[in-house]
Symmetry: C2
């Protein structure tokens, strides 16, 4: 989940914006999440390195990085929101209602489903970040054992 190959330095500077240490640390902190990270996790990681960084700066920069499409955010509902480095291929998530664990769902699994909706109803679904709730394999096992 590295962001080194994104040429983010130039993509920020090209438009007259500045590559501040805070922005670099924030990008690093999102990468450390290994895929999806909450605001609080990012904030904790940044603060560990630079305690002076303010929450307002993180709010402003998450919006900024999303605008530049260096980062994408996904709203899990119920106030839960996660951020991750933006990659070329859209990908999706399965969120367990029991334990909160997040699994990945490949885009090629989702694509035929969207295509089917388009064929049937002429509605072009455009979700680069689908979130599906349910029960993960582990929790399904535990439920079977203790009904």
């Amino acid at each position: 989940m590295s962001h080194e190959n994104l040429d983010y330095q130039n993509r920020i500077r090209k438009q007259g914006f500045r590559l501040t240490p805070q922005r670099q640390m924030i990008l690093d902190a999102i990468c450390e999440g290994g895929g999806h990270t909450t605001f609080d996790e990012i904030f904790a990681r940044v603060q560990a390195k630079a305690p002076a960084v303010h929450k307002a700066t993180l709010y402003r920069n998450l919006e900024f990085l999303c605008d530049l499409r260096l980062v994408v955010s996904a709203d899990l509902g119920a106030g839960r929101k996660v951020y991750e480095i933006c990659h070329a291929t859209p990908h999706h998530h399965l969120v367990c209602r029991e334990c909160g664990k997040i699994e990945e769902l490949a885009h090629h699994t989702v694509e035929p489903f969207f295509a089917q909706i388009e064929a049937a109803q002429n509605f072009a679904v455009d979700m680069d970040h689908l979130i599906l709730f349910g029960t993960c394999p582990d929790c399904r096992n535990n439920q079977d054992k203790s009904p």
Copy 2:
């Protein structure tokens, strides 16, 4: 989108809860939404009839009605949350990003997709209210005409 056939009076009273005028008005107001209604819309409709009804009462009752499964809520992300009367069959929605229009998506279209995920990853998707964003047929036509 009537709720008269839900036997909601008894379903509330059976468990020792009370059928207050406020609760009736709130149920009515959700129905008026014709499918999905935001908190503010419900509040405005209730206040039009009874200005004394407090926001806290609406918060408490929306949670209460969702607990009793008389109402379901769907989180559209970005702070957008809608409520509607709960019906037997789960149903899903296609939301147009351009015009905001909401179309229905039949459950039998969605079911095989969930089954496929379960077969592949052993993850039991449990969404009785899937929301998919995209572009509706009308807006797709308009886009073609003016690129």
